[in-house]
Symmetry: C2
DNA sequence: GGCTATAGTGTTACTAGTACGTCTACCTGA
DNA sequence: TCAGGTAGACGTACTAGTAACACTATAGCC
């Protein structure tokens, strides 16, 4: 039912829907299997279209990779915005921590798509890396804002620590114990924020 | 000169030296360019041997990948042991933090080879992932021991946080600001240890 | 010295599959 | 009409891995 419907949808609504179907399949496969080891042919087969159709929507595979990461970045920005909505900084961090914790426990969780992509694309000038960098800058700025709102002495330093914890939590959720992520991350967030209120201990040292 | 000498060395001392040369080249290329995008041919060319010689030392490319990671794991275990030598737990964490900070600043730093490898190998039963898991378990145990020696209330929880921070620091050193890693990591280590002494704040919550 | 065994490497050519991307030609529904 | 679809062969390059056969340096032995 669903399959048929979305296929008809693809025909009726034309290009935009097909593009979305390609992106859906790409997101699933790239994330699950890695980018380099997911061939364009594999995606094409999975969507059930032809090579020509695929290459009419995305001129190269890299262009699709970029689109995949950009869509994911937009989604994450929304999730962070939602976690912050109507909360103070500490509550927002708690919400972010439990969001990451929940994601870690979902079947098929494979860590952060951006970290994973960067592992596969060493060239810092590559379009894929530019998307990764841009999303990481945005995330870092969000943490910077939260650190400042939490009233720590050295907000940039604490923002770096919050970012570190986020990254580490994504890795731990993938390669470690997913069940423990939410609590450990929330506790660590709190710990660095609190240490940030006592400049001698958590911030810079001699 | 060097080339000639090591080539003669390879002949005189037989297989072990050639195997090492293959491993050296593989380590450099796998780490710098990623594993999947480094072909066996590329390694073979870089070492200056033939396909046949290569496959006489490593039956498959995966076998080489495993050997690469195992050698790297041994090196890291040595580095951690050295950081702990003659220090108490907190000093050891400081030494580990500055070690990671220094590594981050070295040109060509591309993060943690194990995290990167895991990004490219989704199958948890794959030999590569088994090496990754085994090394991560060892690292976690080392942190657990340090947390216990630091006298925190809930050592397993704090060990998870230390591990998170280590992973995040490796990512930050690659994709963020390498200069800031050492200090941020040392501060965060301290923060979670200190919070671990006040069970209500850093540990479990309601 | 001369013989042989052995281990390691070299050369060349090969299989067979996969990768990305292009090409021509035709179909369909608004 | 025409955008967007189908079908699938094709080009070119790379991928991992194998087969058959020749060469060389060392070591032990008569």
């Amino acid at each position: 039912m669903d399959l048929e419907e979305s296929s008809q949808d693809g025909r009726r609504r034309g290009g935009a829907a097909t593009r979305e179907r390609i992106l859906d399949a790409a997101a699933e496969l790239f994330y699950a299997a890695g980018i380099r080891s997911t061939s364009a042919d594999r995606i094409i087969e999975s969507v059930g279209i032809t090579k020509v159709t695929f290459y009419r929507h995305f001129r190269t595979k890299d262009e699709l990779v970029v689109a995949y990461l950009e869509r994911r970045a937009a989604w994450e920005r929304g999730a962070v915005a939602q976690a912050r909505e109507g909360h103070d900084a500490v509550e927002a961090l708690r919400a972010i921590a439990s969001g990451i914790g929940e994601a870690s426990c979902r079947p098929g969780f494979r860590g952060c798509p951006f970290i994973n992509a960067a592992a596969e694309y060493p060239d810092t000038e590559h379009p894929v890396r530019l998307v990764v960098d841009s999303h990481r800058r945005w995330t870092h700025d969000a943490f910077l804002d939260l650190a400042a709102k939490a009233g720590v002495a050295d907000a940039p330093a604490v923002a770096g620590q919050l970012m570190m914890l986020r990254d580490g939590a994504m890795v731990s959720g993938y390669l470690g114990d997913p069940e423990a992520v939410a609590e450990a991350l929330a506790g660590a967030y709190l710990a660095v924020i609190q240490a940030g209120h006592r400049p001698d201990e958590g911030g810079r040292r001699g």
